[in-house]
């Protein structure tokens, strides 16, 4: 690897030498207008081909380019929504040239600026696959974090909400997933700083976690670019395999000060209730289970006596809850200094008491040009969030767990007003008591900032230096009351836990950007530099048991300090990177990039990873044989490259020992088996794509096919426990993801007048096929809740493996399972692949109508062909084996010989097969959901003006109005395995393959909101 670094060094020197330091300078200025309306255009980009000089027009449409080299030059003018223009001018030394250009409008998005990592480019010039989502598309969604707002917005980006609790972490998968033990979430980069996005919480509340990403206010985001193919993401090398989400925050633009106000209020309620048995049906089922197995037919009480009341626990625990958000921002500036100062507020109560999420934040983004050659930018955001959490998925003391599981026969409260408990006949700890008496607070402070200096050494060469910090501090306090009878804490006299977690990351980037003047036919854009990333995580935890009162809830009030922890961990990354793009005749583009990363997470032997990529694009529509034809724009792209994944804990390659004490005597024991050969997970991805615009700019489409093979998976694979260890991190196996993506935007009805009726639609569609192609010795293994997710060659990652339920014997009422190995007995060996959590296709569909001031938008998200392991059925479809309340489809159970049904007979002893985990618990998880329906009205300018606004819009919207699905749980958009915790240095995460399981996930809400957007 040393040789490569020397090459880089030489390259840097050549770049510097190739650049002339002496140049005569000229100034170019002018005004850009709309060719139809003659209105000035703000935000148009004016650039000088062959230099890094670029300016944006101000609110009067004016631009100025100083320090330009004298001589003949090509000026390019670009703006979103307009066709690009190009003009030849001659700049005179020391003189000033005026160039005014009118632009004609176009529906294609070819002129948007796309961030590609250590630089940006125009969409029309990309030779790689990048999806973009604009601020308008993510605005005003009543959801805390950006990942949720991206759902259905970009082809090939699958967002799974995991559960409905406010501020919850989500799962985001770009072009499928490959990793088994390493994280499958993409890298998030905010204004050039790769941030810590994962969960650093220390409180395990059953599956669902808090994500540091939710500390980033969505109101601050200007655009999101998702780097999907290897040629795009290889610039982030060792962390590019899962795709890269590049987030750019809003910045000030030249013009008079503008105040923006944006606010909504809304109300949420559970989008769905589960159908559970009432007390008579419950009693009938359970008594029948006793009768069937030869026990007392009134074992559970007499019908008509014991079922005198029927408690609806869902009614008791679910509530309607408010959500509100507000943003106030001031932006503006002049040629020297541009600013944007914003404050945001987001407050969402959960539909399960007492959960809720509240965030306040402030952001200051400044751009300062002290001289024509030097530009300084700073971005600084401070947010504070407060998350009231509840015990979640699968926890025995989870509110939703027990709401579903609780018997309807026992009242919530006793006659004396106390909460009923298991002693009083409840099946489990009272969920209403849990909601009322226990608290979990997570408060975090996030500081995300960077300072960037760009020095134009010559018109062609720019040096950028950037220092970024991402500091996340999380404080957690949990109190579990002794008054929740039957709970673990009750046995301990109450429990309090207090945790502090911090994650600090410092990023230093230095790079050179070279845009030499190669004449009129050739364009070159090259970037090379280095990056250093230092990450440190730290945590403290303490727990106390035994409290004299529910009013004294601090650990300091505890009778016994029962648990304590304090530790820290570091990981560092050193990187060098280079990227070049050469375009000939504005038609043929060739790109290449390399990155080498050195990581402290790997042993000396395999510490450095090397990630190259190449790409090419051919602008067919500019060829003479197509020019002026059907296509306004037609480009073919192809790319190939290598990316990596290192999202594992910090020290898995080292053989380690740690403390193992006995009584009060200190001891030690092995904690990790060494694997000195551990190295990077590497993904080789091939992508071909086409971008096209036709029908006079009314149809634009992008399609991609990709083939993505991941080798040397970082896998915490099981090893024989006879070694003293049950697993080891190893580079094992391969996973293939291949598929295609389509984005299609059409203007279906184009008005003749600007405020006429306009109808546009956007479709994102992605098909991904995921298959494990190799494993260690070909040995399959299982993971996930109840070990149902199979990792097996030839199958999708995490396919569901369990007994295959084929029906119910009409004579006996017993479940029939397929005897796969034909040995005449149903055993563990008969478990077989019965489904997959991976969808056949996913996407989103948006339809927007505008007429005069009105706008109506419907946004549909969908996922089809995936299955869900409804793990709630283990208990609530067990034919009376478990005392949980049962789902109403148990009413269809077999009751007498001859009954034809799919529900086995009730069985007290659990011998009918009803309580056997099988494909009976696997359901179709396909869904279509109307994610958003918004009706807005923009106030007429004269009216708005009379109120003092430049612009004002009011709107009403409903999120999750309906979901079309056969899935019987709360929501098919679910992942109870949650996202794991790899960035904080824990060695626990292996839930990456456990997609598609619902184990009492928090229900999702339907939200009605009303909002105002105004500026003046």
């Amino acid at each position: 690897m040393h040789r490569f670094r020397n090459v880089l060094l030489t390259l840097a020197c050549i770049l510097a030498a190739a650049t002339s330091l002496s140049a005569q300078t000229a100034t170019l200025r002018g005004t850009i207008t709309d060719s139809l309306t003659r209105e000035p255009l703000q935000g148009a980009s004016v650039s000088l081909v062959g230099t890094s000089l670029r300016a944006e027009t101000n609110d009067r449409g004016q631009y100025a380019l100083g320090s330009a080299p004298a001589g003949p030059a090509i000026v390019r003018i670009q703006m979103i929504g307009y066709a690009p223009a190009q003009r030849s001018v001659t700049l005179t030394d020391g003189g000033e040239t005026v160039l005014d250009v009118p632009l004609s409008s176009s529906a294609a998005q070819l002129e948007e600026i796309v961030s590609v990592g250590y630089g940006s480019t125009l969409r029309g010039e990309l030779s790689t696959s990048v999806s973009s989502v604009s601020a308008a598309e993510i605005a005003n969604q009543p959801i805390a974090s950006i990942d949720g707002a991206l759902q259905g917005k970009a082809a090939g980006v699958q967002v799974i909400q995991n559960a409905g609790n406010p501020g919850n972490a989500m799962s985001l998968r770009v072009r499928g997933a490959a990793s088994v033990s390493a994280n499958n979430d993409p890298l998030y980069v905010v204004d050039g700083v790769p941030i810590v996005a994962g969960d650093i919480s220390q409180l395990g509340l059953g599956g669902q976690s808090v994500a540091a990403l939710s500390g980033l206010s969505t109101d601050d985001i200007d655009r999101v670019d998702i780097l999907k193919d290897a040629a795009a993401s290889a610039i982030y090398g060792s962390r590019g395999s899962n795709g890269v989400v590049v987030i750019t925050t809003k910045r000030g633009v030249e013009g008079k000060p503008t105040v923006t106000f944006n606010s909504y209020v809304g109300t949420q309620s559970a989008a769905k209730r589960l159908d559970l048995l009432n007390s008579t049906e419950y009693l009938e089922l359970f008594n029948e289970s006793a009768t069937n197995d030869g026990y007392d037919p009134d074992f559970y009480g007499q019908i008509g006596v014991a079922d005198s009341i029927s408690v609806d626990w869902q009614d008791a625990a679910l509530r309607s809850a408010p959500v509100s958000s507000a943003e106030l921002a001031l932006s503006g500036g002049d040629e020297r200094l541009r600013y944007r100062i914003g404050g945001t507020w987001f407050d969402q109560s959960g539909i399960v008491s007492p959960s809720g999420y509240r965030r306040v934040g402030g952001r200051l983004n400044l751009d300062f040009n002290p001289t024509g050659r030097l530009a300084l930018s700073t971005s600084l955001a401070v947010t504070s969030d407060h998350n009231d959490r509840v015990e979640g998925d699968g926890s025995g003391e989870g509110i939703i767990t027990n709401v579903i599981g609780e018997s309807p026969l026992t009242p919530i409260r006793l006659a004396n007003g106390d909460f009923a408990g298991p002693d009083d006949g409840l099946t489990y700890v009272n969920p209403v008591a849990l909601a009322n008496l226990n608290t979990v607070e997570a408060r975090s402070v996030n500081i995300l900032g960077n300072v960037e200096a760009r020095l134009r050494i010559t018109p062609s060469l720019q040096y950028t230096s950037r220092l970024g910090v991402d500091l996340v501090n999380l404080k957690e306090n949990q109190f579990q009351s002794a008054r929740v009878s039957g709970s673990e804490a009750a046995g301990l006299g109450g429990t309090a836990k207090s945790g502090y977690s911090a994650s600090d990351r410092y990023v230093i980037d230095n790079f050179l950007t070279l845009v030499p003047n190669l004449g009129t036919r050739s364009e070159l854009d090259a970037t090379a530099g280095g990056s250093l990333e230092l990450t440190r995580s730290e945590l403290n935890f303490i727990r106390g048991d035994g409290f004299s009162s529910d009013e004294l809830t601090q650990v300091s009030n505890a009778a016994v300090l029962s648990e304590g922890d304090a530790t820290n961990s570091r990981n560092n990354l050193i990187s060098f990177f280079a990227r070049g793009s050469y375009t000939l005749d504005r038609k043929y583009t060739f790109g290449a990039s390399v990155r080498t990363d050195g990581s402290s997470r790997f042993g000396v032997n395999d510490r450095w990873g090397f990630f190259p990529s190449v790409s090419a694009a051919w602008l067919l529509s500019d060829e003479s044989f197509l020019k002026g034809g059907f296509f306004d724009f037609l480009k073919l792209r192809a790319s190939y490259g290598l990316t990596g994944n290192q999202a594992i804990s910090d020290f898995p390659f080292q053989g380690l020992i740690t403390d193992a004490n006995y009584g009060n005597i200190p001891g030690s024991a092995p904690s990790n088996l060494a694997n000195p050969d551990l190295k990077w997970e590497t993904t080789k991805q091939f992508d071909v794509g086409v971008d096209m615009v036709f029908a006079k700019g009314r149809v634009s489409a992008t399609a991609d096919y990709y083939h993505k093979k991941t080798n040397d998976l970082l896998l915490e694979r099981p090893i024989s426990a006879t070694s003293g260890f049950t697993s080891v991190f190893d580079n094992v196996g391969s996973v293939l993801n291949k598929g295609w993506e389509l984005s299609l935007t059409t203007v279906n009805i184009e008005p003749h007048r600007a405020d006429g009726f306009r109808w546009t639609t956007t479709l994102n569609l992605a098909v991904n096929r995921n298959r494990v192609t190799a494993l260690f010795n070909g040995q399959p293994f299982n993971d996930g809740i109840r070990s149902i997710n199979r990792v097996q060659v030839g199958q999708p990652l995490g396919a569901f493996q369990t007994l295959h339920f084929t029906g119910v014997d009409p004579q006996t009422g017993d479940a029939i399972f397929e005897d796969v190995n034909g040995d005449g007995a149903i055993t563990a060996d008969d478990e077989t692949i019965v489904g997959s959590p991976w969808p056949d296709y996913t996407g989103g569909f948006t339809s927007t109508f505008t007429y005069k001031g009105f706008d109506l938008t419907g946004f549909l998200v969908f996922s089809q062909g995936n299955q869900i392991f409804n793990a709630m059925r283990i208990f609530s479809a067990s034919g009376g084996f478990f005392l949980d309340n049962h789902f109403r489809d148990e009413l269809d159970r077999w009751q007498q010989p001859g009954d034809i049904t799919n529900v086995p007979r009730a069985s007290f002893d659990g011998v009918s097969g009803a309580a056997e985990i099988s494909s009976r618990y696997i359901e179709d998880g396909s869904y279509w959901r109307l994610q958003d329906l918004t009706l807005g009205y923009r106030l007429p300018e004269r009216f708005a003006g009379s109120l003092g606004f430049a612009n004002a819009r009011i709107y009403g919207s409903v999120r999750n109005l309906f979901t079309i699905t056969d899935y019987t749980g709360y929501s098919p958009d679910v992942n109870s395995n949650g996202s794991n915790n790899v960035d904080s240095g824990s060695l626990t995460g292996s839930s990456q393959v456990g997609l598609g399981t619902d184990f009492y996930a928090y229900p999702q809400a339907r939200t009605w909101t009303f909002g105002v957007q105004a500026s003046w």
Partner: protein, 441 residues
């Protein structure tokens, strides 16, 4: 030109500093080549080997629970599927508890194997202490393998630590006889090397004899069992108040031979799982009515072991708190007396046998048996001993192995023969293709 020079300098400076930034180690763990490099390392490694016994799946809960749950002593009253299936004697190869117990025991074996490999070469360990450390390691290994063999039958014998990922998969099962041979060999070593007689939370010479007595009983070698029990008796152990054995803080009693220490922080879940939800336990497992009925009227052990809830349900109360700071007995003098009694009875010393087990009846406040009165034949004496074992050691993880050992599990519980051995965990067989399964699974 100056700029170019500065750039070159900056880049090369960055390169030089690289590799040291990449050399990071955890702050709370040590590289394993630093384990057992000196006397202190050996001592802490031995303590770490005892720590393995505290695991939840070992004496912290499962091995004790699963020594009663599949039998007529305890039943499942909670939610865990692996427990429910164990109670119903419907073990399957994917039973997670059967897997967890296996893992916990082999973790313990690996820890002693490291000591046995590294400690002999240490030069700063004085001979007596080195012998004591090695002897205790041998004792623990014997205990681990006996725990394995009595639940799983044939098991792989590992006598050296696994160093590479590759060798971990290369295992086969050894027949029960070979496992017992290894246990006896380890006990021989332990007997030669161990000199200590305290503390009882670690292996002592008395513990070696006691375990040997137990192992001999399982092998049907009654002469050895009786002789080893006599060695233990000669060490001066005695019966004390029954309740003291299960004291909330784990006080020492004259009956202690070897017990695993637990504290409020390093807690056991035994009490929490046996205690009914009515008494703020988890109530995952409860004593059976059959066990309750097995106690004779006036047996003081019943009142200590089982408590009735308000609605008459049974709550296991041997470990009376849900904190879990009680010490867990691996082997205690009461069991040694029962081993001796059984050895005597098997060898037809019936009156001796009755005298021996009467010590436990006496402690329980029950009238002594007299040969020719309550019991006469060898079968009756053995039945009385079996009964005595059941109530004396109830919920201490002995009932199921006893039923299997005496060949009565099938008749008493009405279960298929193959269920008398736990399955070899499927997950193990998936990663070690040479591992065979017990028949029937």
């Amino acid at each position: 030109m100056r700029i170019r020079f500065a750039l070159a300098l900056a880049l090369s400076g960055a390169l030089a500093g690289c590799d040291s930034l990449l050399d990071q180690s955890p702050t709370d763990q040590l590289p394993d080549d630093r384990a057992i490099t000196d006397a202190r390392g050996a001592r802490t490694a031995l303590i770490g080997a005892y720590n393995a016994l505290q695991a939840t799946s070992y004496y912290g809960r499962d091995i004790l629970l699963f020594g009663d749950l599949p039998s007529d002593n305890a039943e499942h009253t909670g939610t865990l599927t692996s427990f429910a299936l164990a109670d119903a004697n419907q073990f399957r190869a994917d039973n997670t508890s059967a897997d967890d117990i296996w893992n916990a025991i082999y973790d313990g074996i690996n820890r002693v194997n490291i000591i046995l490999e590294k400690a002999p070469a240490l030069t700063d360990l004085e001979e007596t202490e080195k012998n004591e450390i090695l002897g205790e390691a041998h004792f623990l290994r014997a205990l681990h393998y006996h725990n394995l063999v009595k639940f799983y039958g044939d098991v792989p014998i590992k006598l050296a630590p696994v160093k590479t990922v590759e060798e971990a998969a290369d295992i086969v099962r050894s027949p029960v006889a070979d496992v017992y041979a290894q246990i006896n060999a380890d006990l021989d070593e332990a007997e030669t090397l161990i000199t200590s007689t305290e503390p009882t939370t670690q292996a002592t010479i008395g513990a070696v004899h006691a375990l040997r007595a137990r192992v001999a009983l399982y092998q049907g070698d009654y002469a050895t069992a009786g002789a080893e029990a006599d060695e233990v008796i000669a060490e001066g152990y005695d019966l004390g108040p029954y309740a003291d054995l299960f004291d909330a803080e784990g006080i020492d009693t004259p009956e202690d031979i070897f017990k695993v220490t637990f504290t409020a922080v390093q807690f056991s879940l035994e009490g929490f799982y046996y205690t009914s939800e009515d008494f703020d336990g988890r109530g995952e497992v409860a004593p059976t009515q059959d066990l309750f009925d097995a106690y004779e009227p006036g047996d003081e052990r019943l009142t200590w072991s089982i408590t009735l809830t308000d609605d008459g349900a049974l709550s296991g109360s041997k470990w009376a708190t849900t904190v879990g700071a009680e010490d867990m007995h691996v082997i205690r003098f009461g069991e040694v007396l029962l081993i001796k009694a059984e050895a005597q009875a098997r060898e037809n010393d019936l009156s001796g046998a009755v005298d021996t087990y009467n010590r436990l009846r006496d402690r329980a406040g029950l009238d002594p048996h007299t040969l020719g009165n309550e019991v006469t034949t060898q079968a009756e004496v053995l039945a009385a001993i079996d009964h005595e074992r059941r109530v004396e050691l109830a919920m201490e993880g002995d009932r199921w192995p006893d039923l299997v050992r005496t060949g009565t599990a099938v008749s008493v519980l009405g279960i298929p023969e193959f269920q008398t051995l736990f399955p070899i965990p499927q997950i193990e067989r998936d990663v070690a293709p040479g591992l065979t399964q017990n028949p029937g699974y």
